[in-house]
């Protein structure tokens, strides 16, 4: 076991609060977990050196941290500062039908429910998910009542100051037919470490629109997850936009626990310098008639490294499943690296399932076409590469967010050296 994990476990053992039953369970699992090495399949291309060497530690709240402004976005703000919920940032008047509470402050009955739900969606195989179970500082419970359509998106920001370590946890439940959009983002300055996990319980006919922006770069270390439990006729549309850092890893699990679930997951990542970003996306089709459409596109430059593992598991009873996984990768420098692995595991016989992974250079015909219109090769390359991810930005349901992120991505891309 690593020193870092031993230290995390011993810190976890000192915590004594409402969540004890789940924390001790996580600690027990952690005590028997082997620290991943190069031979551990889930971490094969993502070395954990950066975690072992980070000097980040849990700090007191730094109040001058403020979430990055998103122009024209009117959101309900849920702000964590170095892992602690900033209650003052939360509006006093939330829309009817939406409640946001600290797990520690819930009434007894609700708290029992929160304990029961905790870590029920997130699979135990995620090592840092267990760390988060044990160390999460403030656990926030978000609930949308049945039939309520929340107009404003809920933005969950995790802010870290130089040297900070944070473990944030949010549990989001959508009642039957409810609708909610959630934006998750992380801002980390300098050497920082964070685990940010969110579990989603999506009731029948509910709709979740989801975004996760992992734009932290540099010496930050981030390991997090988004885990979705989908019931009958529920739908979700998720967009992940990531840059890379010393270590940035995201695990997503979409679990079709009901029939006729429709899930869409689009991920964009743009890596430069020595950055690393690793997305492990798992879809469990446990029930029939589900649909999954997954598009993952990445552009990797510099000496950066991208990892994508896309697993779609279609269980024996999940007949009539339609699942599609498409992964397009583009290397813009000779020293960049992409490791991609689509995994389809199909046990039902009446399904339609397709996957494709390509590590492509730009299309020569398109390049020629642009050149015949006067655009030089270098610029044509930029245009084409950008178009490649722009397609997924166009699919973002929230146009304010799309127009906010587009220039950010463009600027990052323009700064990347194409060679």
């Amino acid at each position: 076991m690593s020193e870092w994990l031993e230290n995390a476990i011993s810190r976890g053992q000192k915590i004594d609060d409402w969540l004890n039953p789940k924390r001790s369970r996580a600690l027990e699992l952690l005590s028997t977990t082997k620290w991943p090495t190069r031979k551990t399949e889930a971490w094969r291309y993502t070395p954990l050196r950066a975690i072992q060497s980070t000097k980040a530690t849990q700090l007191e709240v730094v109040s001058e941290l403020t979430p990055l402004a998103i122009a024209d976005l009117s959101a309900i703000e849920l702000v964590f500062k170095n892992g602690k919920l900033d209650k003052s940032a939360l509006s006093d008047t939330l829309p009817t039908g939406l409640t946001v509470s600290l797990g520690s402050e819930l009434a007894a009955q609700q708290q029992l429910q929160a304990i029961a739900d905790f870590s029920e969606v997130k699979p135990d195989r995620h090592l840092f998910g267990l760390v988060n179970d044990a160390l999460a500082q403030d656990v926030v419970i978000v609930n949308v009542e049945a039939g309520v359509k929340v107009e404003q998106p809920l933005r969950i920001s995790s802010l870290l100051s130089q040297g900070a370590e944070s473990h944030t946890r949010v549990q989001v439940s959508l009642g039957e037919g409810a609708e909610l959009a959630v934006i998750e983002d992380v801002q980390a300055e300098g050497e920082t470490l964070n685990t940010a996990f969110v579990e989603y319980f999506v009731s029948p006919k509910a709709h979740l629109e989801h975004y996760r922006f992992a734009l932290q770069t540099g010496t930050n270390v981030s390991v997090g997850g988004c885990h979705f439990n989908m019931l009958d006729h529920s739908t979700m549309h998720s967009t992940i936009v990531a840059f890379g850092s010393d270590l940035s890893r995201l695990d997503t699990d979409i679990i079709h626990s009901g029939e006729f679930v429709d899930a869409k997951l689009n991920a964009i990542y743009l890596l430069d310098n020595n950055e690393l970003f690793d997305l492990h996306a798992t879809v469990e089709h446990a029930m029939p008639n589900g649909t999954t459409e997954e598009n993952v596109r990445c552009i990797v430059g510099g000496r950066a490294k991208a990892v994508f593992n896309g697993r779609i598991h279609i269980h024996r009873d999940a007949q009539k499943t339609l699942a599609e996984l498409n992964n397009r990768n583009l290397l813009v420098s000779k020293t960049a690296e992409i490791n991609t692995k689509p995994e389809l595991e199909i046990y039902a016989d009446d399904v339609r399932c397709a996957h494709g992974a390509t590590s492509a250079e730009v299309d020569k015909q398109a390049l020629y076409y642009l050149q015949t219109r006067g655009i030089n090769r270098a610029q044509a390359n930029v245009i084409l590469n950008f178009g490649f991810i722009n397609e997924l930005i166009d699919l973002m349901p929230n146009k304010v967010l799309a127009e906010w992120i587009r220039p950010i991505i463009r600027a990052r891309f323009s700064a990347m050296k194409v060679n």
Partner: protein
Amino acid sequence: MSDNKSLLTIKDVYASIEEKQIIKGFNLDIKPGEVHAIMGPNGAGKSTMGYVLSGREGYEVNSGTITFNGKDLLEMEIEERAAAGLFLAFQYPVEIPGVSNLEFLKASVDAIREANGEEPITSSELLKQAKEACKQVDLPLAFLKRGVNEGFSGGEKKRNELMQMLLLKPKLCILDETDSGLDIDALQMVAAGVNSQRSPERSFIVVTHYQRLLDYIKPDFVHVLADGKIVKSGDASLALELESQGYAWLETHKDEDNIEG
């Protein structure tokens, strides 16, 4: 054959693709304002000539010279040829998802302006011009926001090519089978677009398999291309003659060549 007033002079050009000889001694001289039609059977090298002129990778000129506006065209990069005023309207324009038509037009217009020492066009001016051009070729304005040619029908792609031509105002337009796959209404619209651009400063090469486009775009000269070279040239009446007789005699001619070779 050529003089200093020529816009384009192609002299005895041989060109190949992957070592396969396609163009075998091509000669053509075009003066400003002229419209030349190049007709010929499939496989004669009609599209190849357009690619050679545009500078497409893999289309190798083995011998001969091409002078465009007084300069050696073969020494120029693809984009330099565009900046110098050469425009190729593709038979099968490529789809570029994720790059909006308008973004593409702006990049293109700006690149050509920059190469000619002009300031970039303002977004509002470009939008105004693009809207006018769309109207002229009957392309819905919504197409400006869509990905370049993405999901466009064959006819819409051709209109989009023409729309670009209207914005870029080239000196020489090569229309590569712009009539293929168009119904008669679309054909007339394309022809009207081309005719509106005819001017003493602008020349056209209209590459087509069929005569019908030439009912609407009246050429000054018609050339028949067979087996990589022009085998017959004449005025507009040659197209009609060819229409009545068909390419059959050319096909026979080519066969004889092959037997000899």
